[in-house]
């Protein structure tokens, strides 16, 4: 439902997004029936397509040509998809968006090769663009995203980490790819450098806000709404902002410490989820997300007025208030 609402916000882009959806399907087409099935399984699970949307919106500030924009939008979504299929192996996740993950439906090896295949398709496509700057940004982003994930594994089950560790992680894990989507969209449409820089920073701030909200929703949503067990982050040892804020309460700290890295029954899991949900951690995390949202909106205020800014603002507000 909420995803529908979000899609309504960028309904102006519907024809282009439908085109991108078709291109995504073509991009994962393979001689291997299994790879085809696995990739389509992933694609059909849906998603918010937030990265292609930001590429297209950023393109509105320059010389917008959908044939050029899709050359960036499609690979960026493919890169995101490839990372999801590998993440599910890392997190040992059985369910994503309410459907079995590739690793659960087939196995870890098939998931690894599917991810490699999709990433290679992304690179094959993006190399149709010859502008070196595009590749400099994208390759740097890919490396930083991986480093972010490596750091996330390093930091797992460490309840005593500081806020800076968390922000460093989510910057690399989420914000950078959204920031690069905006910057690349601006670049290939030929905007001036100043506009591209504002769009890059907008993407970064909105990405940070988006991830914090995601981390909050892991505690405030139901299993059904999430399409996976609530509290999955905690179960997997990922210490997110709501936990970092809530741990200030010594009782909560002790409870978290006692249950980290422990096999939890559903009852125990839901109890912890409930305690975090009712703690001050959620409100503090929301305030932090709001701060990033305001910074994102400020970047928009420097951009030339037009439909692009209007839609970006609407999406930004929606992200700040979403509950899915």
């Amino acid at each position: 439902m909420e995803k529908m609402k979000l899609k309504l916000l960028y309904s102006d882009l519907r024809p282009e997004l439908e085109m991108i959806e078709k291109e995504l399907e073509q991009a994962v087409d393979s001689e291997s029936l299994l790879l085809n099935d696995a990739s389509l399984h992933l694609l059909q699970a849906g998603g918010k397509r937030i990265r292609p949307v930001f590429v297209l919106l950023a393109g509105k500030f320059g010389d917008y040509n959908i044939d050029v924009m899709k050359q960036v939008a499609v690979p960026l979504e493919l890169i995101h998809m490839a990372s999801l299929v590998h993440d599910d192996v890392i997190d040992d996740s059985e369910i994503r968006r309410g459907r079995p993950t590739v690793k659960a439906q087939w196995n870890n090896s098939v998931a690894m090769y599917t991810g490699d295949f999709i990433l290679a398709r992304a690179l094959e496509r993006i190399t149709e663009i010859t502008a070196p700057r595009v590749h400099e940004i994208l390759s740097k982003t890919l490396i930083e995203v991986c480093r972010g994930e490596i750091i996330q594994i390093q930091d797992k089950y460490k309840l005593d980490q500081n806020l800076r560790d968390y922000f460093r992680r989510i910057k690399r894990k989420t914000a950078l790819l959204i920031s690069s989507s905006c910057e690349l969209g601006a670049l290939v449409s030929g905007t001036d450098e100043k506009t591209a820089a504002h769009l890059r920073r907008f993407g970064y701030f909105i990405g940070m806000s988006f991830q914090i909200i995601d981390d909050i929703l892991d505690f405030t949503s139901t299993d059904e709404e999430l399409g996976k067990p609530a509290g999955s982050d905690f179960i997997q040892g990922n210490i997110t902002l709501p936990i970092l804020c809530a741990r200030k309460d010594p009782e909560i700290y002790q409870l978290l410490k006692a249950n980290l890295n422990k096999e939890l029954s559903d009852h125990e899991r839901l109890e912890i989820v409930g305690i975090i949900r009712n703690s001050s951690g959620i409100e503090e995390a929301k305030a932090m997300s709001e701060r990033y949202l305001q910074k994102a909106l400020r970047e928009l205020s420097f951009l030339p007025k037009g439909p692009g800014v209007k839609t970006m603002r609407k999406i930004a507000f929606f992200i700040g208030k979403r509950n899915f």
Binding site: S30, E31, S32, L33, L34, L35, A38, S83, H86, V89, I90, D92, W106, N107, N108, S109, V110, M112, Y113, T114, G115, D116, F117, L119, A120, R121, L123, E124, T127, T130, P132, H135, E136, L138, S139, K140, L142, I143, V145, C146, R147, E149, I150, I151, I153, Q154, K156
Partner: protein, 246 residues
């Protein structure tokens, strides 16, 4: 070159928890063969050769991911190591402004991933199709490099030798009952383990003959030829022994 490749992809946490980047010596040998043979070789080609080895390391890392449940920290980092190496190969080629090579390697990775997945499809296919899949898995990256820089004269030799080394490894696996997906499919095609062994030994004999002939055709100098033969000789002795034993 091996050290330079390892340095390019080094990462503290990965070094601590994973086996680290791994590229077979035989693959490095064939990547450098045109250089060793005195062919035109530039800084750009050298950099490309390094990136091909990094791609080999990336794909190798992902081959090491097992079906453990739940997955261990070492396995989690092995997944990320492969992804990181992929990012690094891309960035290295971007830095040397060689976008065309990024595209060639991406296409080769697609082919390799398709063939690796084919072993999980559970479809009936001929031995020739299985062989074709293994050949692509073992050689496609290298052949893309050769084609890109016009070193196609080494294509046959490289294919034969890399396939030889793969089959020799598979023979060892078979004898130690450490069955790979390839061996499982071969067994289901040939119906019995003994036939698989016989098939592999015959392949090794056949490839050995072809390799000797190709070395001659490529006019490899004496030392290079010896190095290459040395790589396959231990396996050849074993194959001959098995042939004698019937």
């Amino acid at each position: 070159m091996e050290i330079e490749v390892l340095d390019a992809v080094r990462q503290r946490t990965l070094d601590q928890f994973t086996e680290g980047p791994s590229v077979k010596e035989s693959r490095l040998f064939f990547l450098l063969l045109p250089f060793f043979s005195g062919k035109t070789w530039s800084a750009e080609i050298e950099s490309s050769a390094k990136t091909v080895s990094i791609v080999y390391a990336a794909l190798h890392a992902h081959d090491q991911v097992r079906e453990d449940n739940p997955i261990s920290k070492e396995q989690q980092l092995t997944v990320l190591a492969g992804d990181l190496y992929s990012g690094i190969y891309y960035q290295m080629l971007v830095n040397s402004k060689n976008i065309a090579m990024v595209q060639k390697l991406a296409t080769a990775i697609i082919q390799v991933s398709e063939r690796k997945t084919s072993f999980f499809e559970g479809m009936d296919r001929s031995i020739a199709e299985v062989e074709e899949a293994i050949t692509i898995i073992e050689t496609e990256l290298l052949i893309s490099f050769y084609k890109f820089y016009g070193y196609t004269e080494y294509e046959s030799l490289a294919k034969q030798a890399l396939l030889y080394i793969r089959y020799a490894d598979e023979l060892e696996r078979l004898q130690s009952k450490n069955y790979s997906n390839f061996l499982r499919e071969l067994t289901s095609n040939l119906n019995h383990k003994n036939y698989v062994e016989h098939w592999l030994v015959e392949k090794l004999d056949n490839l050995h003959e072809k390799i000797v002939k190709s070395i001659d055709e490529c006019s490899l100098d004496y030392e290079l030829a010896q190095f290459l033969l040395h790589q396959i000789t231990p396996h050849q002795h074993r194959a001959e022994q098995l042939t004698r034993e019937g």
